[in-house]
Amino acid sequence: MKKVAMTGNVAVANAMRQINPDVCAAYPITPSTEIMQQFSTFVANGQVDTELVTVESEHSAMSACIGAAAAGGRVMNATSANGLALMWEMLYIAAGNRLPIVLSCVNRALSAPINIHCDHSDSMGARDSGWVQIYAENAQEAYDNTIQAVRIGEHPDIHLPVMSCMDGFIISHSIENLDLLDDQQVRDFVGPYNGTAYPLLDVANPVTYGALHLQDYYIESRRQLHEAHKRAKNVVIEVGREYGKLSGRSYGLFETYKMDDAEIGLIALNSAAGTAKVVVDEFRAKGIKAGLLKPRLFRPFPYLEIADALKGLKALCVLDRADSFGAAGGPLFIEVRSALYDLQKRPVTINKIFGLGGRDLGLDDLRKVFEELTTIVDKGPKSLYEYITVRE
């Protein structure tokens, strides 16, 4: 294993090089552009066997990925924001056809107003599409998740597409020191492709993909997708454990940071978790029992395990880097709060929407949140759901 300095995008591109997918589609959009750009040089230099389809849109990117995966091989792709939004129709079709495509989503805000920086409105908008979604705090995790995503999606128990997310610019464009596995280790870990049960290219055994399912069959097909998501949780655990043996970095459903005896806690996805850990340490130093839970797997949402990990808390704040306009909170909050409902004793739970369009989340912002948490246990929250890091 070697330590190297690279950006999140370059780390993901290198994971893809090591995986050596059979087909990739490429279409530029900031901040994910660099992944497929870097990967194109691997193709041009013969470092991979990949057939690169330089499509004319993200809709066609996902359509080509669907055709390629149904044909019977390993398929990867990357996008962000508007690109993911343009793919939206095809995301559902990839999942409905149970094609284990891996998509690297470099999280960026959706328009309007147009913006190129990080928030999670893109991947959160796709959360009901039937894709497995995994989130990464830093470039190391983004690299590790990309490799695991291949194994997760292709697992015979599930056959599902996997979206591997990291924060645009904050992670995609920041240089980090990270460990890369050896190329051979990655190739052995992902193994030969076995993710398409009925490949189109098997012309001796013709199959029909994408038939019309009416009232008499559609719901059974969706039910199968639902059941696959139920099984996905164990697949993620199994693959994370095996990856840990290989790399020394084990992965599960989420990460807890100083949660064992915590009384007040935060939940944050992706890079915000790094900032939160610093503030947890500060409060711990002051004798306040603070903790953090960083979800890794968002789809399927491991609600039982998350509720169990939060049950000792007195007060909790869920940080959402996306809004669900008009709802009773941000998307992560809605999931977490629902997960807590069945606990005998629930923490007082509030929601802060932060960092939309790349607005920085500072230590001070989180200090204020923790201070608020220390007061609301007795007094109750002054507001359930509000914006922070915002100009009033």
Binding site: V23, E51, V53, H59, S60, A64, A71, V75, T208, G210
Partner: protein, 326 residues
Amino acid sequence: MAAIKLKELSKKPDLLTGGHRMCAGCGAPIVVRQVLMAIDEPVIISNATGCLEVATTIYPYTAWKLPWIHSAFENAAATISGVEAMYQSLKRQGKIPADQKIKFLAFGGDGGTYDIGLQALSGALERGHDFMYVCYDNGAYMNTGIQRSSATPFGADTTTSPAGKVLQGKTQKRKDLTRIALAHGVPFVAQASPHNWKDLITKVQKAMSIEGPKFMNIIAPCNRGWRTQTNDAIALSKLAVDTCFWPLYEVVNGVATVTYNPKKNRRPIVEWLKPQGRFKHLFKPENEWMLAKFQELVDENWRSVVGMHNASHPGETIDPEEGKSW
């Protein structure tokens, strides 16, 4: 290329089986069968959403005896791009036998091709995948109930271009998709019609012998949308050609050839319009100008197709006025 014998063709297995649930007398399955008859290698199809797709694959049934994928409406070309890319990749890597020959086809209706799928088609033609896109043009969005598309003829009464008190059907002329495909500089572009099966099959066979992206536009009468009888798809496709509404031609590596010149069979456009309920209002006395305009549009298009032919064949020119006896 060996001579095409109907007797031999009739012995080929039907890859689109009977009982497919398209309307009786629909032109589209005839088109598909003729295309498939022309190909000896295994074929994989990507099919855009539309009548052909919806009616032939009502789960748990499928009428297709070959590998077939429908993913969405606007992306038959992008989807087949992915299938073909995987074939190229696996072949290059030795994961499928080097001598495994497969032909890749995309089928889309006019709505799925002229309109919503134009971008994906353009992208796939430009990238140079080894595939053929076949548009079966029935002149409207039939599956959703006969809405106008950019392929709908001038004056046609559709559910979104109805003949009313003020407007008399579609006010615009058709888009020339065949020429748009040609503008991509692809090695093979053609128009065909199911009544002339020999011409259609010859074109498909020629296309299959050429590597790279290919495009065929094939007229496919729809008795529901055209408001005609269920037994006149072939007669109406023949009339479409003899009136020069639907010229039969091909452009192979830049050489344009009109493959059928109606000459003495040439008919005025009214003969094609008259049997079709969608053009009924054109025959009201106050709409006479529309018939004249329709004829003008047809003549203009024929002159320009003939112009391409004449430029390619200076020794065998066609007179675009030939056969105009009315």
